[in-house]
């Protein structure tokens, strides 16, 4: 089709394509672009008091350029938070996705019993909101009320504090895995069901065992779904907030800046400094985008077969 023809077509279509686009554009502008713009605006301002700050007109909002950003990246606690989150993300990603993969493969194998029940049972925790899940687990971690501690005692583990600095990370990871495995398992399982059975048949004729089929046929064919779940999980774990925030009141080991997002919350809603919070949240957004993009770049060709 020549450009002239295309132009003619576009003219005939008139405003219609724009009208189709309008709802999406309007919604995007209102609920994504505008808030981000406002955040960027706030991030370059600060409240300045004079004197005691109590009289009239002793409070002014001033423009400070990139000062808030400088303060955000210069704060050691911010990077310490990233380090904690990195440890958390490493554990959650490997354990949760590993479990999800194992469960999906098991459910897909022909010989499993109670498949439907197991599928629902594994998925169900995903339907429990994060705050509720963390509260439930949090109470289980408290010694005098908890069957968890009773069980540990039965195995000879006495007086372990599940909420002290050396253990609280694992306690959080446990909540995340409990809540997240089901969803990832379901994504992988759905993808598995979409693979034509012929491949397995062919493999079996070639003498492959069930294990070999799982590892050498199923897993490679699952690659796109694995990429998807990994990217989602990276984003979710980097933004960890609910678990530490909910455990904080019952543990002495979770500071108000445990994760980067908690620092944003503390700045904005405890210290009343929306401006620093805005700057920090934009820095976090930037940092979160990078690993996701890197991962996508790394696996794109393999997983989606995008060859030029």
């Amino acid at each position: 089709m020549s450009t002239a023809q295309q132009g003619a077509r576009a003219a005939r279509a008139g405003a219609t394509p724009y009208l189709y686009l309008a709802p999406a554009v309007v919604l995007f502008t209102l609920f994504v672009a505008a808030p981000i713009g406002y955040t960027a605006y706030l991030s370059m301002r600060r409240v300045k008091f004079s004197g005691l700050g109590l009289g009239k007109n002793s409070r002014t909002e001033i423009f400070v350029g990139l000062d808030n950003y400088r303060a955000a990246v210069a704060d050691g606690e911010f990077w310490a938070g990233w380090l904690r989150v990195l440890g958390y993300a490493g554990l959650v990603l490997t354990l949760m996705l590993g479990l999800a993969l194992v469960f999906a493969l098991l459910l897909d194998s022909a010989r499993v019993r109670l498949a439907r029940f197991s599928r629902i049972a594994i998925f169900l925790p995903y339907a429990v909101p994060g705050v509720v899940a963390t509260l439930l687990w949090g109470f289980l971690y408290l010694p005098s009320l908890s069957p968890v501690h009773a069980t540990l005692r039965a195995f000879g583990v006495e007086n372990v504090d599940l909420l002290d600095p050396s253990t609280v990370l694992f306690s959080m990871v446990n909540v995340a895995i409990w809540g997240g495995t089901g969803f990832n398992m379901l994504v992988l399982y759905t993808q598995l069901r979409a693979i034509p059975r012929d491949y397995y048949e062919a493999a079996r004729i070639d003498g492959a065992s069930e294990l070999a089929i799982a590892l050498r046929v199923k897993v490679p064919m699952l690659a796109p779904a694995l990429v998807l779940t990994t990217v989602f999980s990276i984003i979710a774990t980097i933004q960890v907030f609910t678990e530490p925030m909910t455990l904080r009141p019952i543990s002495n080991a979770v500071s108000s800046t445990w994760s980067p997002l908690m620092k944003v919350y503390t700045d904005a809603f405890v210290n009343g400094d929306l401006y620093s919070a805005a700057a920090t949240s934009l820095v976090i957004a930037l940092i979160s985008v990078v690993p996701s993009l890197l991962f996508m770049r790394l696996v794109r060709r393999r997983a989606f077969g995008e060859e030029r």
Partner: protein, 431 residues
């Protein structure tokens, strides 16, 4: 083609609706000429809606609608955010320590001219908390929280303990009790309750903030407060006080099951004990806080709040009228005591407290005792960034409790964080 046109029309409609939806906010500007003045009221006091209903009944021209809030630090943050967004309620409950930050954010109105008549109803100490030592009046006091020692009468008898009169005796008793039974503590240190620690600092004579001329002075790690921090730091290091986070099911179980023999708390304690430790009914009693030296008689405040009128309210006069009624009218204060279970700030209200709370049936003179103790409580001026100081307290003391490290260092960290924040915000600080 028809479907195409239809969907085009739909998208126009949708876009139109969205645009209309976001441009139709400021329509409440016009004052209603008929109908009553409508006031919204954010509070966490229980049953406040019932009290407002009594007012509404008698005042058809001013209608108060209560919106129940969760208390705690988040309540202040929520109000400040709402005020910034221009959606603040007309009336807001503000803990005394949060009022200065509301004033600094220009979120509450000066109601001096509207409440002139009720000044005499409040003691000077309480009144200072709503004027912040300035000429303005930023709210009316509602309740106060003088601190006292709650103790298990029955278990004190069983362990052969005397009620400690000094902190020294308290420390000795703490060692005795814990030595007798490793699962039992005399009391606890809370790294989660900066307000509690502030009250103990007030008892010791600390002055966390003060105004000299036109400058703030921050003394969070003054000698008096250091003494308090050192005392608890020592006991925590020895392991003879409980350092678990309070307000958890675990803590409730300890309080309920006789694993904690005392609770240094405030006059609002009966409400907490009756719901969190129901089995202790008739077993707890109150006594003055232990003193720093024998023969002294001081206490501090933990909690207590005022009601302020937000700066954005269009009905300041009506709001102030309701406030004066709520906190000084005999009938209203009586309702506050009975329905909202508060210890009223108004002087006249304290005479209305006669029968001891049901939970303290074993101590018929509960209120006489409480009123005597309340007379010994001393407060201090709160600064404009109490939220920052309190946040820093939780982080620093959480860590100190965990690592059994120096409480005085933790206190210094709180002081530093508070001063740094005030400097950054531009407040003038006395050198």
């Amino acid at each position: 083609m028809r479907t195409k046109r239809l969907s085009a029309a739909l998208s126009v409609l949708l876009a139109g609706a969205l645009v209309a939806g976001c441009s139709s906010s400021p329509e409440e500007e016009t004052p209603q000429e008929t109908g009553p003045v409508e006031l919204t009221f954010w509070t966490w006091a229980p049953n406040m809606d019932k009290i407002a209903a009594v007012w509404n009944e008698a005042h058809p021209d001013i209608k108060v609608t209560v919106s129940k809030q969760a208390g705690g630090d988040e309540a202040a943050a929520k109000f400040l955010t709402a005020a910034k967004a221009g959606n603040a309620p007309d009336l807001v409950q503000a803990e005394y320590q949060m009022l200065p930050s509301f004033v600094a954010a220009e979120a509450v109105a000066d109601i001096k001219a509207d409440v002139e008549g009720v000044r005499g109803e409040f003691s000077d100490g309480i009144w200072r908390l709503v004027t912040l030592g300035t000429d303005a009046v930023y709210g009316l006091p509602q309740d106060s929280g003088p601190m006292m020692l709650y103790y298990r009468q029955d278990l004190f008898a069983r362990y052969g303990l005397e009620v400690p009169r000094t902190w020294e005796e308290y420390a000795a008793a703490a060692r005795t009790v814990h030595a007798r039974d490793k699962s039992v503590y005399l009391g606890g240190f809370s790294s989660k309750d900066p307000g509690w620690f502030a009250g103990l600092a007030q008892q010791a004579g600390g002055q966390w903030w003060s105004i000299t001329g036109e400058a703030w002075q921050v003394g969070i790690n003054d000698d008096a407060t250091k003494k308090v921090a050192d005392f608890w730091g020592g006991l925590a290091k020895e392991g003879v006080v409980d350092t678990q986070a309070p307000w958890t099911p675990e803590w409730n179980a300890a309080l309920n099951g006789g694993k904690l023999l005392t609770w240094s708390s405030a006059v609002w304690g009966p409400g907490v004990l009756s719901s969190n430790a129901p089995d202790g009914k008739g077993k707890w009693a109150i006594a003055p806080l232990p003193q720093w030296s024998a023969g002294e008689n001081h206490s501090g405040f933990w909690g207590g709040s005022s009601i302020a009128v937000s700066a954005g309210s269009k009905h300041r006069k009506a709001a102030a009228q309701f406030l004066s009624w709520l906190n000084t009218d005999a009938k209203a204060v009586d309702l506050l005591i009975k329905e909202a279970a508060i210890y009223p700030a108004a002087k006249s209200g304290q005479q209305l407290l006669t029968t001891a709370p049901e939970y303290f049936a074993n101590q018929p003179d509960f209120w006489q005792q409480a009123t005597t103790i309340a007379g010994t409580a001393r407060g201090f001026t709160f600064g404009p960034n109490v939220n920052v100081a309190y946040g820093a307290y939780k982080d620093a003391f959480d860590k100190a409790v965990q690592q059994k490290s120096s409480f005085t260092d933790a206190l210094a960290a709180v002081q530093d964080a508070t001063v740094a924040d005030m400097k950054k915000s531009g407040f003038t600080l006395a050198s």
